[in-house]
């Protein structure tokens, strides 16, 4: 399935809009990782513990959105975006959303 940030699909024509699809998750890591991350906050540099949790949340939210699009029978998701916020301390909340559409190749009827 194509996931695009653009509103159009190059070399294809949108034939039907199926509506909004989205996926959400909130993830965190165990207490030990937060402790190590706190020490890294003192000395500086990349905090791998949080890079990892953001990556996990990003992919999980994306998969949930794709599953919703699959269930609607979509060929692509256009206008795709990620949004993040913090619902609890040290938790990563990621929302993936876009518009599910059906498409045909531009050179087809």
């Amino acid at each position: 399935m194509l996931i695009l940030t653009t509103d159009e699909v190059a070399a294809a024509r949108i034939t039907e809009s199926l509506g909004l699809v989205r996926g959400t998750t909130v993830r965190t890591r165990h207490w030990g990782h937060h402790l190590i991350a706190a020490f890294k906050g003192v000395v500086g540099g990349e905090v791998h513990e949080y890079t990892k949790v953001i990556a996990e949340a990003r992919e999980e939210a994306l998969d949930r959105m794709k599953a919703e699009a699959f269930a609607l029978g979509a060929d692509a998701v256009v206008g795709f975006r990620f949004a993040t916020s913090e619902v609890a301390k040290n938790c990563a909340e990621v929302v993936a959303y876009g518009s599910a559409v059906k498409v045909v190749r531009a050179d087809q009827g």
Partner: protein, 155 residues
Amino acid sequence: MLDRSSHAPEEPPPSEDELLAMAYADGELSAEEATNFSARLKAEPALLRLVAEHRALDVLARQVGLPEPAEIDWSDLKEDRTYRGTTAAGWILLTLSVSIGVAVASGEFLLDDTVPAPTRVLAGAGVLGLALLFGSVLRRRLRAIPLDPYRHLQR
């Protein structure tokens, strides 16, 4: 040039269940097939793990970036004896001091005759309740770890 084909071990063809698990994970089953397969997943833990493994591979396959110099250096550091020794000792000392400290403080409070018995009973029930809640959350997480396809992601 090396002829690798003559040394490559022959993999057995995937079983029907493996093919079904892959199709299920990829969302390629029809609605009826997916419903039937979902029912089997509830009864067959081995099948559930098969789907989880396929999903984990699929997620990892998206990570097309090459390792960065800092990541290579960081993984080397993780193998360093001094680093491993100091972090292991740190965790052991911290875990022991916290767990023994909580146990001793709880014991002293519960056995302290100067504190009214109802207060001690309530405090004991509270500590036990917290321990039970933590235990159930921990048990659930430990069971879910093998089924979490995102746990190998690094960035």
